[in-house]
Symmetry: C2
Subunit: 200 residues, 2 copies
């Protein structure tokens, strides 16, 4: 018997992403979000949700662009700080020592020190309630050579992303590699008796 916990946004895992944007004076800002995720493969799109009162909300509405910067565990302090203060009053790049680099593809800055970033162009704005969801096309992914594997793609352990738990409002590290996708489930396909065809 499961216990009812009420209507709450208690998902696991949630990402910890740093959103880069410019204000109306082209001053770079960063904020942290955990409400978001990839939302389409073709075209590659990502969705992030932001409260209307945040300066990043204003910035995205103005420039139709943002970057997603994936922090590593070693940038936990800078990342958490970006969620503590508002870009309206604070120059968060200066306070953290992080470096804003202007994207050549969209009018938004990315964080030089973070190993994996995405440059995003706004496609859809969905007003949900406390949060506005921005769906954006990923125009390019850029990564430091140091986090790339033999196949030329980022290796999760090298990126060392931070994971958020909405259940206890805490940060976690990425854990052990378990298995390749579409692999462990093959065990249930091996015995023909387990192929439970409907209506057969």
């Amino acid at each position: 018997m499961k216990k009812s916990l009420g209507a709450k946004p208690l998902a696991l895992p949630s990402p910890v992403w740093v959103i880069g944007s410019y204000d109306s004076h082209q001053q770079p800002n960063i904020m942290v979000i955990s409400w978001g995720g990839i939302c389409c493969t073709t075209p590659p799109c990502v969705a992030i949700s932001i409260r209307k009162t945040r300066s990043t909300h204003t910035n995205i509405m103005k420039h139709n662009a943002f970057t997603i910067n994936i922090p590593s565990r070693r940038h936990l302090v800078e990342t958490d700080y970006a969620g503590l203060v508002s870009g309206i009053n604070f120059d968060k790049f200066s306070a953290t020592g992080l470096t804003a680099v202007k994207s050549s593809l969209v009018n938004a800055p990315f964080v030089k020190e973070f190993s994996l970033i995405m440059e995003c162009e706004l496609l859809h704005i969905i007003d949900i309630g406390s949060h506005t969801q921005f769906i954006a096309k990923i125009l390019d992914v850029k990564a430091d050579e140091a986090v790339l594997g033999n196949n030329g793609l980022p290796v999760a352990e090298k990126v060392d992303p931070i994971i958020s738990s909405a259940c206890d409002s805490a940060y976690y590290a990425l854990g052990d590699y378990l298995e390749r996708a579409y692999s462990p489930g093959m065990a249930l396909l091996e015995g023909p008796q387990l192929w439970t065809l409907k209506n057969s």
Copy 2:
């Protein structure tokens, strides 16, 4: 200097969620998704993206409801299997031995054996491209008593969720607890000289 990897949905981390739905004959089905995330706090909402060809897509369009079932590491085989075959041809509950329980709130089944589930009512449908995004209101979260902490909320380590990496198409475990949110960044607030007020 970062290397350009092109327009790809390479985010970290992504969730591994099992979506429960009924077909037009009220037969329960499950599928696995990694494109999704919480998208609003008030009302609590979640977004999941599904290809139009999947039977879960048809089911959600019909019943305006689904459940999100968060698998633990011990259900990796059953979870991966749910992503290997189609609900059009296979009775995945029967094949995995998992138990479908009808939600009393929405017309969708949840997975009894999974410790943390959400019952969701469809709010918005956004056609993005290869994938349709379904935004749904979380009507209730239900959890096994065994995964709850002293505050009555689920403890991430006890839920033991699976994490997906789109970069290498692999499953990972949740790693070490790092810090509470809004805590490590306080270090950058302690010295007044670090309060870099804009225009001051």
